[in-house]
């Protein structure tokens, strides 16, 4: 009997050992996403903050005094359609020049992927079903009256208005909510940024280019004179922001 037990255990170990061998066959790595910013191809960092030096598509001269936005759900899709979702989210804080690089903790197999994508903002599950202490600590919340959850982006600055007065704007994106009726009506405004096919090698780094001017340009030419503040509860403004955000992110071609 003892002998049989011994054989059984040996077999079991062999099986486990074989399984492990199979897993180890594919080499894994972490990837890094770098977020680089520009205004219509002119590089932009926090050193360019606070000075009215940009002209938006509507012709308004403007500055940026704060920019931070959330990305989550970094996903790699294999050619066979299988997806790998990397844990974590990242609050890109251009104002403080922090977290402009994001290395998710999940290691992934090397190889060619048909797409690298992430979510701008949070999907609804992530937005409403978690309490993020780090995001709460930096006052990233959305009031319960607007559905709760978190901001997706805070872009603020000044512009010269129709009366030649320097005026503030706060372009904050959240999940759109219409509070005008008896029942709140929501519309999703998070979106997938698909950066296309990528090859992942050891410690691959992907440079993502964000053209801030796009937020004011396409398809909606943004008029800061009419839409400059109190935009969080403005359902239509949130939808327009969502539409303008679609062309903001691009993967910089590898040189």
């Amino acid at each position: 009997m003892k002998r049989i037990n011994f054989i059984l255990i040996t077999c079991l170990f062999t099986v486990i050992s074989c399984n492990n061998d199979n897993d180890d066959q594919s080499e894994r790595t972490n990837i890094t996403l770098n977020f680089n910013h520009n205004w219509d191809e002119t590089p932009f960092t926090n050193a360019n903050f606070n000075t009215i030096q940009y002209t938006n598509a509507n012709g308004e001269e403007m500055s940026i005094t704060k920019l931070r936005y959330l990305i989550s759900n970094v996903t790699l899709t294999k050619p066979n359609g299988e997806t790998i979702v990397l844990d974590g989210y990242n609050l890109v804080d251009v104002t403080n020049n922090t977290d402009l690089s994001f290395t998710p903790i999940t290691a992934i197999p090397l190889g060619v992927y048909s797409s690298l994508s992430f979510t701008f903002g949070f999907n609804n599950d992530a937005n409403y079903n978690n309490n993020y202490t780090d995001l709460n600590s930096v006052s990233w919340n959305v009031p319960e009256a607007l559905g709760g959850g978190y901001h997706y982006m805070q872009l603020e600055g000044k512009f010269i208005d129709n009366t030649s007065t320097e005026t503030g704007y706060a372009y904050h994106t959240i999940r759109a909510v219409n509070n005008s009726g008896a029942i709140q009506v929501f519309q999703d405004t998070f979106f997938e940024v698909n950066l296309g096919e990528v090859t992942v090698s050891n410690n691959s780094t992907f440079d993502i280019e964000i053209n801030i001017a796009e937020w004011f340009k396409n398809p909606n030419t943004w008029d800061l004179n009419t839409l400059n503040n109190m935009l969080m509860p403005n359902f239509d403004a949130q939808i327009m922001m969502f539409e303008n955000g679609q062309n903001t992110f691009n993967l910089k071609p590898i040189q």
């Binding site: 919340n141 503030g168 706060a170 109190m230």
Partner: protein
């Protein structure tokens, strides 16, 4: 005989070592973890406690004694507690506080609580100090405050009948220096935790708010009315401040540069740290220069008193009209809500009274 001599000699040596050990026995300070309130634990990041100044029972106790002791001032007349009184949530009621020579500073004394949750660790209205330890370092030598020198203070403490032993117990050395003094004070200050306001209890399900207070909270959280939450916390951020620097539209011409004087960046001119809205019932007057005597004045400022300047925060809206013009009822309700953030247990906490 030789064996006996050797035996006695060895015994003597052991006795000497043994006696000597008793004399140099060192006191080991006992760790004292911060009691983190549930709302803080649930909603925000852990407090900042430097690795080289962990909280200990002896360190906190020493810090408290120092905080209340005028020995830190040049003429032994002024303690930290003189401008940071418990009944005022550790600020005072003066617009500007006078130092040992009767001279006044140019800023309103800041209240002291929940300081360990200042994640960026920039202290003072203008953020000129990094770390709580360094903050405690500055008033001692400020001529408008305690007007002393650290050499003087160290010497007085060293000659004191009690302090050398207390430093020995707290830090394992009876040699007193400014670093250890500020470490002890910072340890005590980190224990000044305010988390038992009516609104805290409401969030914990322990009490209810009046209709006016609830409406006030809604105004606070409404981007088209109060819009206070972008800088002053929320039901998810119990600090009620972002600890960040803003120009909140007080002046058209900025004379006190605030953060701008520290960074040298004109874009920071007129920016001051958002104070916490906790304990407003005890902390008048308000603003960095104490210009507003009442909460009504503060609310009126944001409602219709905003003044434009190049660095005014974009979140200050309808500046051309002076603000969003809250209705009288909204103003009253907002005030009612703000007062629910006052923590009476904090200002009556016996752990914080003069030892």
């Amino acid at each position: 005989m030789k064996t006996w001599n050797t035996y006695i000699y060895i015994l003597f040596i052991f006795t000497c070592i043994s006696c000597s050990n008793e004399k140099i026995e060192t006191y080991v300070s006992k760790p004292s973890l911060l009691q983190i309130p549930k709302l803080f634990e649930d909603n925000i990041l852990a407090p900042v406690i430097p690795n080289n100044n962990l909280q200990t029972i002896e360190g906190i106790s020493l810090g408290k004694k120092l905080f209340f002791d005028p020995i830190l001032s040049a003429n032994n007349t002024q303690a930290c507690a003189d401008c940071h009184a418990l009944e005022n949530a550790f600020t005072d009621t003066d617009r500007f506080s006078d130092g040992i020579n009767g001279a006044f500073g140019k800023r309103n004394s800041m209240p002291l609580f929940n300081l360990a949750w200042n994640y960026d660790e920039k202290f003072f209205w203008d953020g000129r100090s990094f770390s709580l330890e360094h903050q405690a370092f500055l008033p001692v030598t400020d001529p408008n405050e305690m007007g002393s020198t650290w050499i003087q203070v160290e010497e007085k403490l060293q000659q004191h009948p009690e302090y050398p032993e207390l430093f020995q117990q707290a830090f394992g050395t009876s040699t007193i220096d400014s670093t250890l003094v500020t470490k002890a004070i910072a340890q005590f200050e980190r224990t000044l935790i305010s988390s038992n306001s009516k609104f805290d209890k409401y969030l914990l399900g322990e009490t209810s708010l009046t209709a006016e207070e609830l409406n006030g909270f809604n105004i606070f959280m409404d981007e088209t009315r109060g819009d206070c939450f972008h800088c002053h916390g929320s039901d998810k951020n119990p600090l009620w401040t972002d600890n960040i620097f803003h120009n909140n539209g007080l002046d058209t011409v900025i004379t006190d540069l605030g953060l701008g004087a520290i960074t040298g960046d004109p874009a920071d001119n007129g920016k001051f740290k958002s104070p916490s809205l906790r304990n407003l019932a005890f902390t008048a007057p308000y603003m960095h220069d104490g210009r507003f005597k009442t909460l009504n004045d503060v609310i009126n400022h944001y409602s219709e008193g905003l003044k434009n300047s190049t660095t005014i925060d974009p979140l200050m809206k309808k500046v051309a009209q002076g603000g969003v013009h809250l209705t009288p009822q909204d103003k009253a309700d907002l005030k009612a809500f703000l007062l629910t953030l006052s923590d009476y247990e904090f200002i009556n906490n016996l752990n914080f009274i003069k030892p």
